[in-house]
């Protein structure tokens, strides 16, 4: 039974690597969806959801925009749930082991993107030599290689993780696990900081403040705030369109008006 679970967990890791790279992420590598799957496989959906939910909130806003490399919270989720169910470690300890694994996985990301470069040149060579039918094969090879990004760390944990966690549980002091739990509460700030860096904060500061006030003082839940945001967005949009149409008439078709979004 354990052996089958081991295999399935590794397969989830392979699937997650593929799904997250496709144009149609169904689970993506979001902790909460992956947590549900791993929980089902490990026969403990509640643990899966609690750990997935914790890591989901911890990682809000951390996204690999434009192919950038960010800590792999999806891998952290798989590893944490696997270890929690196998060793009986509590959520905090399991995440304390899973999160570093997710951060180490980031290093593999860089290596694999360099290997992909070799595949790209190989495929170009096949094209020039008119071996068109082999080109697809090279791309499938790229996909399998990419899966290794998650398969390697998860397999290592499946093979060697349990004794390590047992050891850690015996020697780890209380203030240390408490500290990690505090860190878990603070970590969502990284994602929020990244979002703010990416968005036009200086131009639309007022909406950031409105969001804070409505939530902190009035306790409106997030969907309510999203609707309020949609209302504000609609006003901004129709105003902008009106403005740019006036501009359009004035400059007679000079469409390349300086765009103000920064990357």
């Amino acid at each position: 039974m354990n052996f089958i679970q081991d295999i399935l967990v590794i397969l989830i890791a392979a699937y997650m690597a593929w799904d997250n790279g496709t144009g149609n992420q169904i689970t993506g590598n979001w902790p909460v969806t992956i947590g549900l799957l791993v929980g089902l496989v490990m026969g403990d959906v509640t643990t899966g959801l609690v750990i997935g939910g914790t890591l989901q909130l911890m990682s809000l806003g951390v996204a690999g925009i434009g192919g950038s490399s960010v800590p792999e919270y999806g891998v952290a989720t798989i590893v944490s749930i696997f270890l929690a169910v196998r060793t009986g470690a509590d959520t905090g300890t399991a995440i304390a082991v899973g999160l570093p694994v997710g951060m180490l996985t980031l290093q593999l990301d860089v290596v694999l993107k360099m290997i992909n470069n070799v595949y790209a040149h190989w495929s170009l060579k096949l094209l020039q030599n008119k071996q068109f039918n082999k080109m697809d094969g090279v791309f499938y090879l790229t996909v399998v290689t990419w899966m290794m990004k998650y398969v390697i760390p998860v397999t290592l944990v499946v093979l060697f993780g349990t004794p390590i966690v047992d050891l850690v549980l015996q020697v780890i002091p209380v203030w240390f696990t408490n500290g990690l739990q505090i860190a878990g509460g603070m970590l969502p700030v990284v994602g929020i900081g990244l979002l703010l860096r990416y968005m036009p904060v200086k131009k639309y500061m007022s909406f950031l403040i409105i969001g804070y006030v409505v939530s902190a003082y009035l306790n409106v839940p997030v969907l309510g705030i999203a609707l309020l945001g949609a209302a504000a967005a609609y006003i901004i949009y129709s105003n902008n369109v009106q403005k740019s149409e006036e501009l359009f008439v004035e400059t007679e078709g000079n469409a390349s008006e300086g765009d103000d979004f920064d990357e």
């Binding site: 593929w18 496709t22 144009g23 149609n24 169904i26 909460v32 969806t33 549900l36 959906v45 509640t46 959801l49 609690v50 997935g52 939910g53 914790t54 989901q56 909130l57 809000l60 806003g61 996204a63 800590p71 993107k113 992909n116 470069n117 790209a120 495929s123 170009l124 094209l127 068109f132 080109m135 790229t142 500290g179 990690l180 505090i182 860190a183 509460g185 603070m186 700030v189 929020i192 900081g193 979002l195 703010l196 990416y198 036009p200 131009k203 639309y204 909406f207 950031l208 969001g211 804070y212 939530s215 969907l223 705030i225 999203a226 945001g229 967005a233 901004i236 369109v241 149409e245 390349s256």
Partner: protein, 266 residues
């Protein structure tokens, strides 16, 4: 040169969905996936080997766009090549490069920021209580997006070159509007999702004064999370502070805070 059928266009779409971000490399980024997606449809447009190679080589050049929005661009590209063949080579390249920036601006805001942030916090809180509904809804929603993307590809194919002029005007207005919604949601996350409290207390005689409830909370709710957000925002603007370094910094602060009793579990 033969006309593309709806089946050819949909096959291109499905091949793009299969591999969008998977060939990612530092030199040409998503180009290998573009080549994989376009290969069969282009073969139909260029039955001549030499022409086919020339057209395909064009697609080995740098491409990077939000996978969802790239459907519009690839659809338009297909329409141009079908209409003008190799004469459109330069135009195809400039269409791709000029659209990927603005379309990704919108796409990243919607598909990487707004939806994951809103769905993530709803599904995350539900999961903490052992409720799987949020996670399931999220997956159902993304499955439904398949048809949205198919439609985007169709829009791109049907508008072709007209796309730049018709989108150009509205797209920056749209990006702005979406950012406003995003900022409002982010503003609400600071006091709800970031947890940072201090258990410190001052006692004078019988009176015990809790720093958190008697001082910080009286000033404003979530004072410490707001301060922490400002600090992280500032650090992220510095060149040598990566997200990973900031995560490590926070873990160190938490460990020190726990050991000294300055920070507590919220």
């Amino acid at each position: 040169m033969s006309k593309l059928t709806e089946k050819d266009r949909k096959s291109m779409f499905r091949r793009w969905i299969f591999g969008a971000g998977l060939g990612y490399n530092y030199e040409s980024q998503q180009a290998p996936a573009v080549v994989f997606a376009m290969r069969k449809a282009l073969r139909k447009i260029y039955p001549n080997d030499e022409e086919y190679i020339e057209a395909m080589e064009n697609h080995y050049k740098y491409f990077n766009a939000t996978p969802q929005m790239a459907n519009i661009i690839l659809g338009a590209t297909l329409a141009m090549e079908e209409k003008d063949g190799l004469k459109a080579k330069e135009a195809v390249q400039s269409l791709k490069t000029s659209l990927m920036g603005p379309l990704s601006g919108v796409g990243d805001s919607v598909f990487w920021i707004l939806i994951p942030t809103i769905m993530g916090s709803i599904a995350g809180y539900m999961a903490l209580q052992g409720n799987a509904m949020g996670a399931i809804l999220w997956m159902v929603m993304y499955i439904a997006f398949y048809w949205l993307k198919m439609w985007l590809c169709k829009v791109g194919y049907e508008s072709g070159t007209k796309l730049i002029t018709s989108l150009g005007k509205q797209i920056s207005s749209f990006t702005d509007a979406v950012s406003v919604m995003g900022l409002m949601v982010v503003g609400s996350l600071i006091p709800t999702v970031v947890k940072m409290i201090t258990p410190l207390e001052f006692s004078t005689g019988d009176v015990v004064l809790s720093v958190q409830t008697e001082i910080f909370d009286k000033i404003m709710p979530a004072l410490l999370p707001v301060g922490l957000t400002l600090l992280v925002y500032y650090l992220l603007g510095k060149k040598n502070w990566t997200p990973t370094k900031i995560i490590l910094l926070i873990i160190v602060i938490s460990l020190v805070g726990a050991a000294t009793g300055i920070l507590g579990i919220a």
